[in-house]
């Protein structure tokens, strides 16, 4: 490895540190303004929710790296939630969980087939699925939450393994799997290739259709998993479980620094992004700020994050920044 590669690794490290510091600063500011933020109960809550959000953020990130986008995960989660609850009530808890995950995978596969085999643009296909799945969820549940879950249903979402909430453990396991998959398997490499230059990937013999399909299946599966955990947490199946889920997931990925153009990205990015968003959401809740303002804030955060990503790649902007930086340094040296 030459000095240039070290420079690349160094800038990757800088990105990582940059995002972590944003998270740290945010948390510190919040703890100062609202000390309740630091209460164990609240912290556990935040971690739990960010764990759930990060599950779908992984799925979304995988799809985005492969050059696509998945707008439907909110509705997929809704269907999964409803079915999980119904099956858990009638057949059993574990079949219920399994059903939720499989439903997610199935709907994700449908997305994948529409996009890879029928060549529908990802935006349109997943948007269609968004509407379609929401309808199904509402129909099955007749618009009402499904309650009276059997004993022990809530363990997954609210329970602990020792001191650690279970959702976090699940999230960590998925994180490790996702990391291994993206960086250590051919599938991961092919995803980066397809997202970077689809035509060249095709001509190099990569089965673009198959891997695209797989990416959406995974995204759906993770949405199903997140739904299962969330449903378990609130102990009821809901058809409006998390309507803003895809946007939160995309936001998490973007804030974490994932490039929306595809072909780029590391797995820690959606995780950190999910944490930042969860912390931000939580903070705004604690401060009793209206949820509409919350949306404005989150929207602003996304815009800033994505603009920063673009600006970083812009040569003249970076030159300006380095000039200012050097100027300040020389000023400091003189004094």
């Amino acid at each position: 490895m030459t000095h240039i590669d070290l420079k690349n690794k160094y800038s990757e490290l800088k990105d990582f540190l940059g995002i972590i510091s944003i998270l740290a600063i945010l948390s510190i500011i919040l703890s100062i303004i609202e000390p309740r933020f630091l209460s164990p109960y609240n912290l556990r809550n935040v971690l739990r929710l960010s764990a759930i959000l990060s599950l779908v953020a992984y799925g979304e990130a995988i799809v985005i790296i492969g050059g696509g986008i998945d707008l439907s995960i909110g509705s997929i989660a809704a269907v999964a939630s409803v079915l999980t609850a119904m099956v858990a009530r009638s057949v059993g808890i574990v079949p219920g969980f399994a059903c939720g995950i499989l439903t997610g995978a199935l709907l994700g596969t449908i997305n994948g087939v529409l996009i890879s085999r029928f060549r529908l643009p990802a935006f349109i296909a997943t948007f269609g699925m968004l509407v379609y799945a929401e309808g199904i969820a509402n129909y099955i549940s007749r618009g009402a939450p499904i309650e009276f879950m059997p004993e022990g249903f809530g363990v997954l979402g609210s329970g602990y393994l020792g001191p650690i909430p279970i959702p976090i453990i699940i999230s960590v396991i998925v994180f490790i799997l996702a990391h291994v998959m993206l960086s250590k398997t051919p599938f991961g490499r092919y995803l980066y290739a397809i997202g970077g230059n689809e035509k060249a990937a095709w001509l190099s013999g990569i089965n673009v259709k198959r891997y695209r399909l797989l990416a959406y299946t995974i995204s759906g599966l993770l949405a199903g998993l997140a739904a299962v955990v969330l449903t378990s947490r609130i102990n009821s199946g809901q058809s409006n479980l998390a309507p803003s889920l895809p946007f939160d997931a995309i936001a998490a990925a973007a804030v974490g620094g994932l490039s929306m153009r595809g072909g780029y990205g590391k797995i820690y990015q959606p995780v950190l992004g999910a944490m930042i968003i969860s912390v931000a959401n939580n903070g705004l809740n604690l401060l009793n700020i209206s949820s509409y303002i919350q949306m404005i804030v989150i929207g602003g955060v996304i815009l800033i994050a994505v603009s920063w990503d673009n600006l970083r790649r812009n040569e003249s902007f970076m030159k300006l920044i380095t000039k200012i930086h050097r100027f300040r340094q020389s000023e400091a040296c003189r004094n």
Partner: protein, 498 residues
């Protein structure tokens, strides 16, 4: 331009280069790929920012911040990669950014742009309808539209980066006629080309660059080709086409009746083991499409393919690779490489399932293999982890070749293998191909460069307008004959006249 320096991550592209242009001259910029010519003109055209140095126009210092600023200063550029909008018409592209509007209403004066475009195209002798969508034009036609666009902007400094690489002889003549007219009008033209016969014909002065430095500026008339080559590569070039004798074995590939409606018709060809077959055809004759069809990238309407006598179905690049056929495309940047990934990742891209056991990538193994190929093919790169984007054209091409070698293909189809590649790297690529066939593989070169085809191939098939018009074995090669087959009657008359 004085003392121009430019740095990219890991590479110093330009080291204190001086360059000047007089009004009314054609100044040729010559150098191997990676010598820095493209970088220099990109600085002049505002696409890159210089790190050090100064630029003066008409004696006054300027800073060129972006391409828009450059064209306001009277600098126009025609790049190798066309900068047109495929979904807009020819007329709209010519006036891109300067669409004349009716004041107050803000409506585009359609008649004006169509009329003006028609005038310019007529001046150039180009027959493209002004309402044609650029996306449907061939590469050659797109280049002509680019030239029309630059001409219409009434430039003082016109930069042309390899403008003729995809033009026919007739179109090149037209272009030169226009260049002479512009020169007579006082426009200064910077002309980048690898083709010696071209700048001998149209150039006034030549600046030779090598490794990011200016070597010398000389006048075209007083300098011989050999002197120029020596300046370019720093050593004598005795053999441009290293050709060795290889025993040719049995037939390995045969296609019959290959047809794609509207592109080519009833193509029959066969390839033998150890043979280099040449398919000569100008841009637009269908030869590139044939290559893609044989390699599974293009769906055929009719035709059969046989490998070693056995009929096979090759309907996708994956099928082709399974049968050990590789395709070296004509456009490495958009079709052959992942520019944002490293050299190592590109080399191993088509072979991941073979390199890695148990479904997991082994970085160490990949590095080992890719370093082998970097050494074997003499790819000039700081390391295997360098992002492929930062390599020069010739070295990028070598990376694509390495990708196929890594997959151990037996039949390599090359389309325009040395387009946009400098002389030094060209020779290396030719030697590589020779080595390949010496080791038992077979190669088909699809090219419009007749010197290349004649120099490298054992047998030539000539394609014109989608059909085979001649098949010539090596003993019977003659430049003029082959060109006349490829270009048709018109060319034969031209060479008879000259």
């Amino acid at each position: 331009m004085r003392g121009i320096t430019k740095r990219f991550p890991g590479v110093r592209a330009l080291k204190s280069v001086d360059f000047d242009l007089q009004t009314g001259e054609v100044h040729v910029l010559l150098g191997e790929n990676g010598a820095g010519k493209s970088t220099l003109i990109k600085i002049l055209s505002g696409a890159y920012q210089l790190d050090d140095g100064e630029i003066f126009i008409d004696g006054s210092p300027v800073r060129i911040n972006n391409p828009h600023h450059a064209s306001a200063l009277g600098i126009s550029t025609i790049y190798q990669e066309t900068n047109l909008v495929p979904s807009l018409s020819v007329a709209e592209n010519i006036f891109l950014g300067r669409l004349p509007r009716i004041p107050f209403l803000g409506v585009v004066k359609n008649k004006k742009i169509v009329g003006d475009s028609k005038d310019i195209l007529a001046q150039l002798g180009v027959h493209i309808p002004t309402d044609a969508l650029v996306g449907f034009l061939s590469i050659a036609q797109k280049q002509l539209v680019e030239i029309a666009k630059a001409v219409s902007q009434k430039t003082k400094i016109l930069i042309m980066d390899e403008p003729t690489s995809a033009l026919t002889a007739h179109e090149i003549d037209n272009l030169f006629r226009l260049v002479r007219k512009l020169r007579a009008n006082g426009t200064g033209i910077i002309y980048i080309s690898h083709r010696f016969e071209e700048f001998n014909e149209i150039g006034d002065r030549i600046t030779v660059m090598r490794d990011g430095k200016k070597i010398d500026t000389v006048s075209v008339a007083n300098t011989s080709d050999n002197e120029l080559i020596q300046m370019m590569i720093g050593r004598r070039l005795d053999e441009k086409f290293p050709k060795r004798a290889v025993t040719i074995g049995e037939e390995v590939l045969k296609v019959t009746n290959l047809s794609v409606n509207g592109i080519f018709n009833k193509i029959n060809l066969n390839l033998h083991k150890g043979e280099i077959l040449g398919v000569m055809g100008v841009v637009g004759s269908g030869s590139e499409a044939i290559a893609h069809a044989v390699a599974g990238g293009l769906q055929v309407d009719f035709g059969e393919k046989y490998l070693n006598g056995v009929k096979v179905e090759i309907k996708s690049p994956q099928d082709a690779i399974k049968h050990h056929i590789g395709l070296l495309t004509e456009d490495r940047k958009s079709l052959g490489l992942m520019l944002k990934l490293s050299v190592r990742e590109n080399i191993t891209l088509a072979s991941l399932d073979q390199i890695n056991r148990l479904g997991f990538l082994s970085l160490a193994k990949e590095e080992h293999i890719s370093n082998q190929y970097i050494k074997k093919l003499n790819i000039l790169t700081p390391s295997g982890e360098t992002i492929t984007e930062n390599l020069s054209g010739g070295n990028q091409q070598k990376v694509v070749i390495a990708k196929w070698l890594c997959r151990k293909i037996n039949i390599l189809l090359c389309v325009e293998p040395t387009r946009g590649v400098d002389i030094g790297a060209k020779v290396e690529i030719y030697s590589l191909l020779n080595k390949l066939v010496a080791e038992g593989a077979s190669v088909i070169i699809f090219s419009s460069d007749r010197d290349e085809i004649i120099g490298m191939c054992d047998r030539i098939i000539v394609i014109r307008k989608g059909e085979i018009v001649a098949e010539v074995p090596r003993e019977k090669f003659s430049r003029e004959e082959i060109s006349s087959y490829a270009f048709g009657e018109m060319y034969r008359k031209q060479i008879q006249a000259s």
